[in-house]
Structure formats: C-alpha cells, structure tokens
Amino acid sequence: MSEALLTLTGVHTHIGQYHILQGVDLTVRRGELTVLLGRNGAGKTTTLRTIMGLWKASRGGLVFDGQDITRASTPDIATAGIAYVPENMGIFSDLTVRENLLLAARAGEPDAQRLEWIFGFFPALKKFWNQAAGTLSGGQKQMLAIARAIVEPRKLLLVDEPTKGLAPAIIQSLITAFRELKGMETTILLVEQNFGFVRSLGDSVAVMDDGRIVHKGRMAELAEDRDLQQSLLGLSLDAHQ
C-alpha cells in the first residue's frame, strides 16, 4: 500500500452553531482514487471544504504531503498542490473557457502540450474556447471544472459529486476521464452518491454518516460484501446503480 498523501486526524468542523464534522479520521494514499460515500448531510462536502480551508477545523489536524495545513489559508493550501472541484463546479460564468483555464494556470499561460492532453479528454472545451462559460451545458461546465483542476499538475484533486444532475452519457465520459487520470498516478479524493459511477474507479472507500467515518476499506471489498453495503448504506449497492 502506498504512503499517505493526506491525513485527517480527529477533525471537527463547526458551521455557526452546527457541529458538522465530529472527529473525521481519513487517509488518502498517494496515487489512489479514494471515494467518500454517504447520504445527504453526512458531512462529505464539509470534509472537502475543511481540507481546502474554506471552513476551518475547530479541532483535530490535517497533514498534506508532510505539511500541517490545519490552520493554513485556502490560497496556501491550493498552492501546496490541492485542486478543488466544488459541487456547484465554481465556474466563472462571465469569463470564457480560455479565461477560466488561464486563471487556473498560476504559472502563466497554460502549457500547450498539457492543453492538448486535456482537449483529448474534453474536445468540447477546444470547440468553445472563446465562449463564455455560462453558456456551456451542465456536462461541459463539469468538464471545464475538472480541466481547470488539472490544467497544471497538482498533487491531489478534490472532486465533489461530479455526476450530480448529469446525463448518463456524460457520466460515462467522466468515468473515462477519471480512468485516464488514475492511469497517470493522479491522487484523487472523490465525493459521490452515485455508486455505479465510482465502483469501478475507486481504490479505497470511506463511508460517512453523521459527521464521522463509519467505514474504511478497499472498494473491491465493499462492492463484494452485500451485508456490509446493507449496514453502511441502507441499500445494497446494486440499488445505487
């Protein structure tokens, strides 16, 4: 098993008076795709936002690539090598596709070779290069959000429910894209509710409930253990497909 790239230890997060994360322990291993599963309101999005520093952990610790990021600011966390694709995609609607990617490339103009590599996944972005991102379809916006996260090499991608509201054909496209990224040893922490999407992609899985991790293990094991599925998710995984 590969070494840990990101470790959360006993992380608590409060939003106003609400105690959302109640001691999250999670490890994301280098080069793996880790899936965070759980019902609505379990704390998955809060976990990603806490990692990004958008909401601060009130207790516990976060270590990324050997560096304590518990109190780090969001820009510092991004600069350390974490890219974030939020649930709402966070696309800048008034900016063109090109401008969205230009902003994500902190080192300057995006590398031409890397852009071509991205266009290989998402040709629509090339086609609509100079078009306002707000005019793209939902699937194309999701592609742009992912492209923005990988326009420069990052150590870790945090992706929040990329299939939400998308048509099955586009979900299939995203599966192909994530498979390509996995093949390039990219480390990904993927939050999903659509088990059909992640079962073939995930290396590790963690299941959240009520702000805690209630199960950690290998995805293959969970996919094969129907009793465990029943107890963790309330439904067999087949029902999620």
Binding site: M52, L54, S73, T74, P75, A78, T79, Y84, P86, N88, G90, F92, S93, D94, L95, E99, L102, L103, A104, R106, W117, G120, F121, F122, P123, A124, K127, F128, Q131, A132, G134, T135, L136, S137, G139, Q140, M143, R148, A167, A169, I170, S173, T176, A177, E180
Partner: protein
C-alpha cells in the same frame, strides 16, 4: 487516449451583447429632443448630462467593484470625493497664478499635480479606511453601513478642522473656461474635458478588466471570490488593491466635481452619494459597464428633467431607478453570482 464527445457538443449560441440597456441612452436622448423643442438647447443639455454622467461614473466605479468583489457596503465612499477635492486645493490655491495664466501647459501642469496629489492621498486614505474601518466588519452589512457612515461624518468634520467651516471657491483654469460654439449651441469646454477624462477612465478600466490577469481575477472575484481563493490567489490583497484604486478614482472624481461646481463644501461627497448609489443599483451591483450606462442615464435624466419639469427634477432619478428596476430587477447588467 479516448476522445470524449458529449451529446451537447452541438454548436452553442455565441455570447450575445445585451444591447437593450445601451439603446436606452439614445432612446432617452431622442425622446427628449421634441420635448425640449430647441436643438441647440438639447445639444447643450445632452453634453452637460454626459459630462455629469462621466464624473459620477468616475466616483461610482470603485464603489461598485468594492461591493461586487467583497460584498462591502461602503457608505463612506463620499468621504474620498470630498477629501480628493479639498486636497487638490493644497496645490491649486497656491498655484493660482499658474491656473489663471493664459497658458494651457501651465494650467495642465498645476491641474495634473493637484490630481496626482488628490489621488495619492485618497488612495492612501482608502488603504487606511479598509484596514481600520472595513476589515473588522467583513460580512456584517448592518455594521458596515453604520461604521462607514460614521467614517464619513468623521472625515467631514476633519475637513472642517483642517480647512475651516467656509466654502472654498475653486475657479476653473483659464484655458478651461468659456464655451465652444457649434451652430447655435454653446458647449462649455470643461464639460467636453470631463467627457474625455471619463471616457479615458472607462477605457482604461475596460482594458485592465478584460486584457490583464489582474482584471480577470477581479471579474472572477466579483462572481465567486471563494473559488478564486481555491485556485490559489489571495483575494483579500486583490480587494485592498481595488479599494485603493476605487478611493483614488473617487478622489479624481472629487477634483473634477469640485471644478465643475467651482465651489467646495465638506458635504459635497455625502450629497453626491445619493446619485452614486442610484447609479450602481441601476447598473447592477458589481458591474462596471452597468455603472457607466447607469451614470450617463442618471445624469441625462437629471438635466432633461431639470429643464423640462424643474419641480420633479429632484425625484427624477428615484423615478428612473424605479422604472429600471421594474424592467430589470437586478440592474441593467447584473453580475452572475455563485
């Protein structure tokens, strides 16, 4: 590598420029022509309206960006207008000889020094205002309103302390006085200069916002500041920069406005703030283009109404705002928000 095609790859409609708000300006001007009756009077009023609109735009543009970028309601913005105008007197009054000399070069030199000092001081004041007054109340609108209004009152009183309670006359430079005659229409030179300065500021802002990475960051930050931070940029620093630039522009607007009125009072900034807020609401909070169109609309309506129906001149801008908001509740060019 498998190319990915989506069912929605079909050609999308090109982003269309929303022409409707732009057409309101000529429509308003043309509608006023038969009501005014005299073409020379109409030309004079229209140029006066455009000049006034440009000055209001210069004062309002920084405020709309500050609101859009950091959701800050700065009711103290008028203080920068007043301080800018009064600071200019530190150069213009001692250099009265240069201002009244019959030499464009001497007039411009004195004015440029005054504008540079006014923008420098208001920029610096803006930085201090953000650090001391705004920073503790981020995200708290009610407190922002109260403390920034308080800041403006303090600034006005400080102006009384430094410059005394009397109005200060600020005559135009000799070469900016008088009018140019086009046919039967007399157009004041200073109004044309104000239009030119306003256009230069608008074009400069347009180029910065659309052709530079800083401009991209500002536009992105207005739409979704959190995502800009998640991409690794420090939006607070950007905000401080925009706040300083906005304050300096308000200072420039103050100098122009003071010369336009040829008289400075400590309350000039707070008085103009009513128009400034109407402009940024009409334009769409956070939109520089909307602010530009809104400023011209407000000023044209004020000038036409002042001539045609003086009794409703004071209420004309409120009526304009109501009409625009009934048509477009988010303003002429609403900024997409997360």
């Amino acid at each position: 590598m498998t190319p990915i095609a989506t069912p929605t790859d079909a050609e999308l409609p090109k982003l269309k420029l929303d022409w409707a708000p732009l057409l309101v300006l000529p429509a308003l001007a043309l509608a006023a022509l038969p009501l005014i009756g005299s073409a020379p009077t109409w030309v004079t009023l229209t140029i006066a309206g455009l000049a006034m609109g440009m000055m209001i735009f210069i004062m309002a543009s920084g405020l709309t960006l500050v609101f859009g970028l950091m959701d800050v309601l700065n009711f103290g913005h008028g203080a920068f207008v007043t301080v800018g105008a009064f600071t200019a007197t530190l150069v213009l009054l001692p250099m009265q000889g240069w201002m009244q000399a019959d030499s464009v070069l001497m007039n411009l030199t004195a004015l440029s020094l005054a504008v540079a000092l006014a923008m420098g001081v208001t920029g610096l004041l803006g930085w201090a205002f953000e650090r001391v007054i705004i920073m503790p109340v981020y995200g708290q609108h009610l407190k922002q309103i109260l403390i920034t209004m308080g800041g403006m009152i303090v600034a006005e009183q400080m102006i009384h302390v430094v410059w005394g309670p009397d109005q200060i006359p600020l005559p135009l430079p000799a070469s900016f006085r008088g009018a140019i005659i086009f046919g039967d229409a007399a157009i004041e030179k200073y109004r044309l200069i104000a239009v030119a300065v306003g256009l230069i500021v608008f074009v400069a802002m347009f180029l910065v916002l659309n052709r530079t990475k800083v401009g991209l960051l500002i536009r992105a930050g207005v739409e979704n500041g959190e995502m800009v931070e998640a991409l690794g940029y420090r939006i607070r620093r950007l905000f401080v920069g925009v706040f300083i630039a906005g304050s300096a522009l308000a200072g420039l607007g103050g100098v122009l406005w003071g010369l336009y009125k040829e008289m400075l009072t400590a309350a000039m900034g707070s008085e103009i703030m009513v128009l400034v807020f109407i402009v940024i609401i009409i334009g769409g909070l956070g939109s520089v283009g909307g602010c530009f169109i809104g400023a011209l609309l407000v000023a044209l309506v004020a000038n036409y109404a002042g001539f045609l129906v003086p009794k409703i001149a004071l209420a004309s801008n409120i009526l304009l705002m109501v009409a625009i908001l009934l048509w477009r509740p988010q303003g002429l060019y609403p900024v997409a928000k997360r």
